[in-house]
């Protein structure tokens, strides 16, 4: 494999947040700055169980971003596909112009495609194993959103899907950082996504104090030298990511866009990539969250240096 990175520095040149307070990096940051209301009754889900208010991506319509019509997509896959496009646009990149074998993806999702799992499994349970849906089944797997993004955007470089609860997005960033640093890819799309569904809300405890949210945030990572050479606007340098099981019991503040599970770390990172923070070291500590739904918590520490 040809290596193009020589100084091993990795930078973030684009982000594609999709949240209840804003879609796209500028709108998302504006939404946060304005204190836009991202929490309310669901418009999409018939049953939100014990949760009266959720942080749904109310204004999100996949058709606004997709190039071609799709027969079926899980909400999580929709979020991922669209976040990829937003991130690439933000970075000033056209996926069709990137060498497909040098373009990679790393996605973190705590729950994957629960709505599709429900659609398939409910049929199996009601009528028997002969009556599941083979088409929906292929969309139930946690790696399906990544796979669909690979097919859609011709991503033939390194690919990974991480399912480590709310640390998922951090795991995804760590893998992507290593791929760029090792010269395994020129561009990595890395981040996280999780979608709200009735079946997810039913499984969460209303006593946990969280506002369940959905969202996605893919980031564009590339070698600093490559970014400088193409005149890209560098949001920050990604210095290190570590995910361990050594967290304390600190509870993170729930942001205005809710608790977005696998998208938590990439979204926090995106929110921190502001003019005021330029040049500062950002540390994102993930607590309150855990790998699964309980346990002593994980720590994801992201260190971002300055841009150019």
């Amino acid at each position: 494999m040809e290596s193009t990175a020589t100084d091993n520095r990795v930078v973030i040149t684009g982000a594609g947040p999709i949240t209840s307070v804003g879609i796209g990096r500028e709108d998302f940051l504006e939404g946060l700055a304005e204190g836009r209301e991202g929490v309310g009754p669901s418009e999409r889900l018939a049953d939100t169980g014990a949760f009266i208010a959720v942080a749904e991506c109310f204004d999100f319509a996949a058709e606004d971003f997709l190039v071609s019509k799709k027969t079926y997509l899980d909400r999580c896959a929709e979020l991922v596909l669209c976040s990829c496009i937003l991130a690439l646009q933000d970075a000033g990149l056209d996926y069709q112009q990137i060498d497909s074998e040098r373009l990679g993806i790393s996605l973190g999702t705590a729950f994957g495609c629960l709505e599709s799992m429900t659609n398939h499994s409910a049929r199996v349970q009601a009528k028997g194993v002969r009556f599941g849906s083979p088409m929906i089944f292929t969309h139930t797997m946690a790696n399906a959103p990544t796979s669909i993004a690979c097919i859609e955007y011709g991503i033939r470089g390194p690919a990974a899907t991480w399912c480590a609860g709310s640390a998922s997005g951090a795991c995804a960033l760590e893998f992507a950082l290593r791929r760029i640093r090792d010269g395994d890819a020129d561009i990595m799309l890395a981040g996280g996504a999780d979608a709200l569904s009735s079946v997810l809300l039913a499984g969460l405890s209303p006593d946990s104090g969280i506002v369940p949210g959905e969202g996605a945030c893919m980031l564009v990572l590339e070698p600093r030298e490559g970014a400088v050479a193409r005149g890209a606007w560098i949001l920050a340098e990604l210095v290190s990511v570590s995910v361990t099981g050594s967290a304390g019991d600190k509870h993170a503040t729930i942001p205005a866009y809710g608790h977005t599970f696998g998208a938590t770390v990439p979204l926090e990172l995106c929110a921190g990539l502001t003019v005021e923070n330029a040049g500062r070291t950002l540390r994102i500590e993930l607590a309150a969250d855990e790998f699964g739904l309980r346990g002593p918590g994980a720590t994801a520490v992201i260190v971002c240096g300055d841009g150019p």
Binding site: M117, S121, F137, S147, G245
Partner: protein, 411 residues
């Protein structure tokens, strides 16, 4: 063998643990494979009526004792498989005194685990509780992907880097390669790596309806192949820095030299033309390992026995190894233990490691009729002693995910 390479630590495999339908942990698996034994049986877990096949690689006579792991209650079944395989691997590595229930937390010990369906059995129990408007939060927690990761961390005191992958049936191979990366980068001295999955109605329904499951039998790389059969279990490998392993006098099965993982970017279920994605994953892993393709003497193949896959994998191997492909042995163990989904790659990684360590390869069990399109040396006439300096283990999964690891001798 020097303890570092290009300034990086070297990652060796020092412990193995397996739960498969052959029973008896790693010894039962290895001895069974060498003897050409098959561990398949008729579905007992749930009514298979309506599936294309009633044969599967289910784990039989399963007994789990929560107290042995410091637990009050038994977790989800797939997590049980993982915990038992991990305990075997830890014991095999001689690390039981350091890594056990109630032991001190070890920041130098990491986790990299993987599953296709995670707590699939718990999901089957959770869903009816939701539909009945009495959702079981406990079942949901047991189903969730992070559950087994939290359990392993707590049970074995592994407080270092922790991650979990889901890359369909490539999961179990990918996690071994990534564990080795953590070692090479110095992020951990020991990583517990492994894949796990259990049989449940919903995934089996989907796999049957996709006709991935044969209505006949599983004949890897054979002309009469018509699909695969699925099973369950776990495979766990202790991946350790060579320095750490040497300092404590541990036995090293082999070294993990490099890995790659990618996606076909072609179709959710069909393999791409000529196995191009698998060829890229094999070439990528060899590149990372710094091993010339013609030096690969043995490949533990994915070899599912599906019509399209086996020929695509054969083509991929030939396109990367060239003429040397005909000199290498290419083995599928799925005829013996079936396709273990997210655990498949880890169990196959264990078998590849043992093949390197003992310099003997098991046969492709249940090979059927020769297929002119699958024309490599699939070791069809029983176990074979072979000099292996470098080996590869390849996995591929639904969604088009592929993973490959390259192993080298540790001596």
């Amino acid at each position: 063998m020097s303890e570092t390479q290009s300034g990086r630590n070297r990652a060796v495999i020092t412990g193995l643990g397996a739960v498969t339908c052959l029973g008896g942990g790693v010894e039962g698996l290895w001895e069974g494979l060498l003897a050409g034994r098959r561990g398949l049986s008729e579905f007992a877990k749930f009514d298979p009526t309506g599936l294309r096949n009633s044969l599967c690689g289910q784990v039989r006579d399963w007994a789990f004792t929560p107290a042995e792991f410091g637990l009050h209650e038994a977790p989800d079944e797939a997590a049980q498989f993982l915990l038992v395989a991990a305990a075997e691997a830890i014991a095999d590595a001689g690390l039981s005194e350091r890594l056990h229930a109630g032991a001190e937390r070890r920041p130098e010990v990491g986790l990299c685990i993987a599953s296709n369906f995670a707590g699939a059995v718990s999901w089957e129990q959770y869903l009816p509780s939701v539909l009945a408007k009495e959702p079981s939060l406990e079942q949901f927690a047991q189903f969730s992907f992070g559950n087994a990761l939290s359990l392993c961390r707590d049970v074995f005191g592994a407080a270092g880097p922790a991650s979990q992958l889901s890359m369909a049936c490539a999961s179990g191979t990918a996690c071994i390669g990534l564990a080795a990366e953590l070692i090479r980068e110095g992020q951990a001295e020991v990583v517990i790596a492994g894949g796990y999955d259990s049989l449940a109605a919903s995934p089996l329904s989907g796999l049957s309806l996709l006709r991935t499951i044969t209505d006949d039998d599983l004949y890897p790389f054979s002309a009469n192949r018509s699909g695969t059969l699925f099973g369950e279990g776990a495979g766990v490998l202790i991946v350790e820095s060579l320095q750490h392993a040497r300092a404590r006098g541990a036995r090293c099965y082999c070294e993990v030299l490099g890995s790659w993982q990618n996606n076909n970017a072609y179709h959710l279920t069909a393999p791409d033309e000529g196995g191009a994605g698998m060829a890229r994953v094999l070439a990528g892993a060899l590149g990372k390992a710094g091993v010339a393709p013609e030096r690969v003497a043995h490949i533990n193949a994915h070899g599912t026995g599906t019509e399209y896959h086996d020929v695509a994998e054969t083509q991929a191997i030939k396109s990367v190894l060239g003429a040397a492909a005909y000199e290498a042995t290419v083995v599928s163990i799925k005829g013996a233990i079936s396709h273990l989904m997210g655990a498949a790659g880890s169990v196959e990684g264990i078998v590849a490691a043992l093949s390197m360590f003992h310099q003997v390869v098991p046969p492709t069990v249940n090979y059927g009729e020769p297929d002119p399109e699958c024309d490599l040396d699939y070791v069809v006439d029983g176990r074979r002693e072979q000099r292996i300096d470098y080996a590869a283990s390849i996995s591929a999964g639904i969604g088009g995910d592929n993973a490959c690891i390259i192993l080298g001798r540790a001596d």
